[in-house]
Symmetry: D4
Subunit: 149 residues, 8 copies
C-alpha cells in the first residue's frame, strides 16, 4: 500500500518537485498530493466555475470553497502531511492546514528556514520533524518507509 | 484512487446522467453513487422484499429502512456529496442527506435554481460550492481532481 | 442533570410554547433550546451585525452563518432533538437539522401531520418517535425521563 | 450553562478586553478563555519551569509545549472559537488554532481588517462569521446566545 | 463529580434496589440510571403515547423506539455500565446494551449466575468484571471510587 | 469495490450458505465474513493455542478473547451486518454483536422467526430491516447494491 | 470549572502529595485523580471482591480488570495526564497509561529522572513537557491555569 | 484483503522472523509491519537526517519524532497489534504502543515470558490473548483468519 503524503504550503518555489524527484530516485512507493499550485487558477476557480462576483471578498470566498473540496479530501486521505513555509508571504493557509492535520492526528512535518523558527514555534511543536530542505523530507520518507538511513 | 462522489436528491430529471457524461468526457477517475432512482422500486422495496403492510406509514417505513442500507453505506464512503434540489416536490430527504454529509465532515456541493436560494440558505451555508447546472458540477470535479479550469 | 432538548423546525406556530408549557406543568427537569424564532431577526442578523450586502444570496449566506453558530452549538449539546414540520413552507433547514442529529447519533423525534408522511419517510425512519401533536412530545419526555405513562 | 468562548490570536492590542467588556455590559453568560497574553511569560515559560536551553529552537520548543497544555485544553472545551489577526506579525499560531478549531468542528469566527482578506481567504471560508471590530463579536454573541439584534 | 452508573438488564428481581441500597449505605457519590422497569409501561409506551397499532410487531417497534430515547441517552452519559442477566428469559436487550457499551468504550460489569457462564462468554470477555451478586457490584463501586476494600 | 457483509449469530443451520449461494447466483460483488462456525474449534481455540485451563470459566474466557480478534476486526470492516437468531439457544453473542454494530453506526439487518419478535424488539428497532428467511437477505443485498427488485 | 489532572505511575514515593500540596498552596482549582495507591489493595481487589483464584495469572487478571474500571474512567475525564516513572521497577502500566493518553489526545506531562531519558524517549516525545521534580508539575499547572510564572 | 499485523516491542531477538516465517508456511495473507529494528539507525535517525544535537535528550527527541512518523502510521493501519516484551530492558515504548493500540480499539496480543506476568498485568488485561512463544502468534493468526486449529 503506497503512502499518501500531502504537500501543503508555499507554491512559488520548486520544493514539491524536489521532494517528488528525490522520492522517485529513492524508489519510494509514495503518492504525493497537494493543493492546486497554479496560483491564478487557484484564485479564479470560484468565479470561473460558479459565476462572477463584484466584491473581492466573495470572489475569494467562492474560490476558497472550491479549493477546500480538494484540500480537505486529500488532507484526510494523507498518511503524512508536510507543510512548507517559504521566505515570503503570510502563508496563513499553510498554518491552517497544519492545525487541521494536528487535530486529525496526522503525522506532521514542517519545512522552513531557521528565520521563521520563533514565529512557527507552536506549529513546529505539533510536528514530528522540522526540516530545512526538501531533500531532508525525502530522507525522512526513505527512512520511515524503508528503515534505511 | 478514484474519487467517490455521491449524487443525492432529485430523481425526476437527467441531472445525474449529465454529470456522469461530463465526467466521462473529461476523463475523470470518478465513481458516482446515489440512491435507487427507480421511483416505484424505491417506494415498494420494503414491502416487496419483507412483506406487505396495510398502513401506508409502515410501508414507507419499511421501504425507507431498506433504502437507508444503501444510502448510508454509500454516503459514508463518499469523498464528495452533491445534493440536487429540483423545482418541484419537498425533497426533504435531499436536505436530510445534506445534514448527514455536513455532520460527517464530507465536502458538500449543492445544485439548485436561484428560486430556492432563500429557502436553502442553511444548506448552502454548509456547502463548499453552490452550483446551478450539472455542467458546473463537472467543472468543479475536473478542477478539484486535476487542477484545470 | 437536566435534559437538553433542541426544538428544531417550524417557527410560525406556538408548538414550542405548547411543549414548554406542558413540560413545566409536568415538572420535568428540561432545558429547551432552539433556533432564533424571530423570523426577521433571523433573516437580518448577518447584515445587521457584519455589514450590508447587495446580493440577496450573500445576505442569506451571512445570516445563515451567524445562525449556525447558535444552532450547531445547541444541537451538539442536546440530549434529544425534536424536529417539527408544519403544514406550509419547504422547511429544508428542519430536514437538514434532522440529518445532522442522525449523523451525530442524537435521539430524534419528528412532529408533523400525517399529510407529510410519505414525503418525510426517510426522516421518520431515522427518528425514534413520530408525533402528531406537541402534547405527545411532552408525554414522550415525561415517560423517558420519569418512566410514567 | 455558560458558553465557553476561546479568544485566539493577537496579543498586542486590547481586543480581548473590548470583547469581554462588551459581553459584561450585555449581561451575557460567557466564560472567555485564551492563551497566556503576557508575551514574555509565554516566551519564557518552558525554560523558566523546565530548565534552561542554549539553543533558541529548543527554548521555543519547550515553551510551545507548555503553552499547548493550556491552549489545547481550553480550545477543546470551547463552544465558539474567535481568532483575531492583527495588522502586524505573521501570527501563524492564530491560523494554526483556526485549523484545529475547524477540524474539531467548533464554530469559528475570524476578526481582522479588510487588508488581510485575500491572505486569509481559506481561514475565513472555514469560519461562520468574519468580523472587523471586537464590538461585532459582542453583537454576534449577544445574538446567538439571546436571539436579540 | 458523581459517577453515573447505568444498570441494564433484568427487571423482575430487586437487584437494582440492592445495588442502590448498598451504595447509599457505603456513602458513594453515585447516580444510578437504567431503563424503565415497569414492565407494562415499557411494553405499552409506544402505543399509549403515539397511537394504537393492530399488529404486535409495530406496537413493539413503537415502544422500543420510545424506550431507546431514554436508554441511549443514559447509556451514553454513563461512566460505568452494569448488565444483569437473570435466570429466566432471553434478555437479548441486555446483551445488546452490553454490545453498545463495549463499542462505546464504557467500562462494563456483568452480573449473572454461573449457569450462564458459557453462554455469556463473549459478553463476559468484553467486561472488566464478572459479578455474581449485587453486593459485589457495590463492593466494586466502593473500591473503584474510593480505593477501599 | 465489493461490499463487506458480516453474518453474525446462529451457527447450527445452513443460513450462511443460503445467503452466500443466493448472492452468487445473483452475481453480487459481496464478500461475506463471520465468526468461526466450527463449534468445537470455537470453544477450544483459547486453550488449544494458549494453554490448558482447569476452570471452565477461564477456558471460555481465553477462547472468547481469541475469537474476538476475528469478530471485531471483521465487524469493523463490514459495510452491512446481518444478525441471525435461530429457534434455539440464548444467542447472547448475536445480540451483543448487534449492539456493537448499532453503536458503530453499521446498517443492521436482523433475521429471525416471528416467535422472537417481542423478545427482540430492542434489537429490531435498531435494525434497518427485519427478515424472516435467508432469501430475503439476498433480495435486500440485490436491491441495495443494484437497485433491482 | 476545575481542571481534572490524572496522576499516573509510581506509587512508592510521596510525589502525588508533593504535587497536591503545592497546588493547594498555589490556590489552584484542580481535582487530582489517580490509580489506587494502596499497593496491597490494588493487587488483591479482584479476588477479594470477585472470588479467589488459584493461579496468580488470573488473580492479576481479575485485579487489573477491577482497577481498569477506575483508571479508564478517570483517565478519560482528565484534562491533563501526568505520568511518573520512578527509579525502580518496570512500571509498564505507567507507559501504558501514557500511550492511552496520547491516543486520546490528552496533554501529557512526564516526570522522571534523567537516567531514564533514553529509555523513555518515545514517551517523552509524545509529552508536552518533561519534568524532573513534582514541584515543576505544580509550576506547570500554575502557569497553564493562571498564566503566572 | 490481507490483514495488517503490527509487531511492536523487542528488537534484539528473532521473534519477528519466527512469526513471519510461520505465517508464510501457513500460507496466511498477512502484511507484517513494525518499527525500524536496526537499533543504531533508530537511535541516530533524527540527527542523521535533521542535524546534530549536543544534548543527548534532544538527539533522542528528534529520533523519537522521526520514528513516530512510521510507527503511528503503521499502528493506525493495523488490524491486529502484537506487542513483545523480552527478558531484558525496560521496553517502555512497547507498553506505550500497547496503550495506544488499546485506546484506538485495536485487537491486542501480548507476547512475553511468565516472569513478567505480574508487572504486565494491566497490559495483559487490555489484550485479547497472551502468548508465550512466537509460534503461538502464528497459530492465533492462522485460527482467526482461517478458522483452523
Amino acid at each position: 500500500m503506497p503512502w499518501q503524503v500531502y504537500l501543503s504550503g508555499e507554491i512559488h518555489t520548486d520544493w514539491r518537485e524536489r521532494v517528488a524527484d528525490g522520492a522517485r530516485e529513492a524508489g519510494l512507493d509514495v503518492e504525493f498530493t497537494g493543493p492546486v499550485t497554479d496560483h491564478e487558477a487557484s484564485d479564479d476557480c470560484g468565479v470561473a466555475i460558479l459565476g462572477a462576483e463584484e466584491r473581492p471578498f466573495w470572489k475569494d470566498h467562492k474560490g476558497a470553497g472550491v479549493n477546500a473540496i480538494r484540500t480537505r479530501t486529500l488532507l484526510e486521505r494523507a498518511d503524512v502531511v508536510v507543510v512548507r513555509f517559504g521566505e515570503q508571504y503570510r502563508q496563513w493557509n499553510a498554518a491552517f492546514d497544519a492545525g487541521m492535520a494536528a487535530a486529525l492526528g496526522k503525522p506532521l512535518v514542517t519545512l522552513h528556514p531557521e528565520q521563521h523558527d520563533h514565529a512557527l514555534k507552536e506549529v513546529d511543536r505539533a510536528a514530528l520533524a522540522v526540516a530545512r530542505e526538501p531533500e531532508q523530507v525525502v530522507a525522512l520518507l526513505r527512512y520511515v518507509m524503508g528503515g534505511k538511513l
